[in-house]
């Protein structure tokens, strides 16, 4: 079942990115062909959960506290372990900027 789904497309902007944006509605077990905007290289990962169009999939295992990289830049930090093929979104990523909820200025990093 794991490999029997449709082939879907994911787009990563830079080779350094550890997430890609899926360009189809992805179901658990779908094979996702990952294209990179900065190179002709591609890779394939298997989706480990349903991921809607436009949402992000982890391209590798991401440890708790590790930065999330998109556009080759830091877009946030994992708040828990995120396995390859899983959805990356607000439930497992926090932003680092504009954190008025954190007590000390500078504590964010």
């Amino acid at each position: 079942m794991l490999l029997s789904g449709d082939v879907k497309i994911g787009l990563a902007i830079k080779s350094a990115d550890n997430v890609a944006t899926v360009l189809n509605d992805v179901s658990y077990g779908d094979r996702i062909l990952i294209k990179f905007a900065d190179t002709t290289n591609t890779s394939t990962i298997i989706s480990r959960e349903n991921i809607p169009f436009g949402f992000k999939v982890a391209l590798k295992n991401i440890q708790k506290g590790e930065y999330i990289i998109k556009y080759g830049e830091v877009i946030g930090r994992a708040t828990e372990f995120i396995g390859e093929g899983h959805l990356v979104h607000v439930h497992n990523v926090e932003g680092l900027r504009g954190r008025g909820d954190l007590k000390m200025v500078g504590e964010k990093n």
Binding site: T21, L23, E73, I75, H89, E94, R97, G98, G100
Partner: protein, 394 residues
């Protein structure tokens, strides 16, 4: 490349030919509804109880709107603005607009009732729209264009395709000697270091970083995670996870050209090229500021993937500057196709490149500049404008 526009006495070129009546209120409202070819600003921002800095912003916005090349001539009246603050004095506004050389009339209402002024305004406006209608469009180079952009209801299609298509258009326009404006101070937080590298000099780089710093400090004072405010819920529902991610996608709409300067809301650029504007994202605010800065056309690059029950076909917040709605999201286009002027989801569908979609958008802008109506322009509905002020109301 060229378009058909209206030449103004100051050498600027209009793409529309309106008579503007300001400030807003019952007089402007009745006259502009009764007489064809007129525009006015509908806003609650009268200046009363506002700081000098904010009163100057309101004055700059109204003056800039009067100076906009899409305005043939201006009627001002002294009712309903400013409670006597000198910055908002009607004669001051009139004098500054008149520096463009265009016709500026002040309704003298010292001994008149409000309704007396309405009648005077109607008679004057009818004569002025007839006069404006005698002007003919003729061919001008695209370097005479100034375009402002906002991205909104952003989702992940915005950063990947929609904004890069606008970026292509900005690069092309700036390369031809035109002027392009982008902004949204919250949506550069997390991407300001990239913009700063594109500044023409150290001073401009510092100014860009300072806008991000000041905006972030203001946000932190609230004591909340900014993610509870921005990215807004529709961004998150559209796949955007953090403000940094939103910002990195948002700046793609600015293209890749050097940034010539940082402008205040409603401030006119001193030269041609690409400028960053220290403004706020609100669509009823940002387009008015671009129009006051001299933009003849404004663009709304819509994501829309996370929109639930919203109406998107607002009246143009640019008042005198036509608004083009763009989207790269196939689902948004299927749902709001009758409200959207331009679709770049073809890139996501693999049918077009960003460059090809950008060329199509550039041609649509030239067409619009020559007089083709946008979808929003076909409607008479007017939403209130919101002038971007920053100080407390006292």
């Amino acid at each position: 490349m060229t378009f058909l526009g209206y030449e103004r006495p100051d050498g600027s070129v209009g793409v529309r030919n309106y008579v503007l009546i300001i400030p807003g209120g019952i007089i402007s409202d009745v006259v502009s509804n009764f007489v064809t070819g007129c525009k006015t600003v509908v806003t609650a921002d009268s200046g009363s109880g506002r700081s000098k800095r904010d009163r100057e912003t309101i004055a700059r916005t109204l003056i800039g709107l009067g100076m906009n090349p899409n305005v043939a001539s201006v009627i001002l009246h002294g009712r309903g603005l400013g409670s006597g603050y000198p910055e908002l004095n009607v004669n001051r506004l009139a004098d500054e607009i008149a520096r463009t050389g265009k016709r500026v009339e002040v309704l003298d209402g010292t001994n008149d009732s409000t309704l007396d002024l309405v009648v005077k305004g109607i008679n004057l406006a009818r004569e002025m729209v007839q006069e404006a209608s005698r002007l003919r469009r003729r061919e001008f180079d695209d370097s005479n264009l100034c375009i402002g952009v906002k991205c909104g209801a952003s989702d992940t299609t915005s950063g990947i395709v929609g904004n890069p298509v606008v970026g292509y258009v900005f690069d092309k326009l700036v390369g031809k000697g035109g002027t392009a404006l982008f902004g949204e101070n919250t949506e550069i937080i997390g991407a300001e270091h990239i913009l700063a590298k594109r500044a023409v000099n150290e001073e401009v780089a510092k100014a860009i970083l300072e806008v991000a710093r000041e905006t972030e400090e203001r946000a932190k004072l609230i004591g909340e995670d900014i993610r509870t405010i921005n990215p807004v819920p529709s961004n998150i529902a559209g796949g955007i996870t953090t403000l940094e991610e939103k910002s990195l996608g948002a700046i793609a709409k600015s293209g890749s050209m050097p940034i010539q300067g940082v402008l205040k809301y409603g401030e006119r650029p001193k030269g041609k090229g690409l400028y960053f504007v220290d403004n706020w994202m609100g669509m009823l605010s940002i387009f008015l500021g671009y129009a006051a800065a001299g933009a003849q056309i404004v663009l709304f690059q819509l994501g829309g993937g996370g929109l639930v029950g919203d109406t998107i076909l607002y009246s143009s917040g640019g008042v005198v500057a036509p608004l083009l709605w763009l989207t790269a999201n196939p689902k948004t286009y299927r749902r709001f196709g009758d409200e959207i002027d331009f679709y770049s989801g073809t890139v996501i569908e693999g049918k077009e490149t960003i460059q090809e979609a950008g060329e199509r958008l550039y041609n649509l802008i030239l067409d619009t500049a020559s007089g083709a109506m946008t979808k929003t322009e076909t409607l008479t509905h007017i939403d209130p404008n919101q002038i971007y002020t920053v100080d407390p109301m006292l």
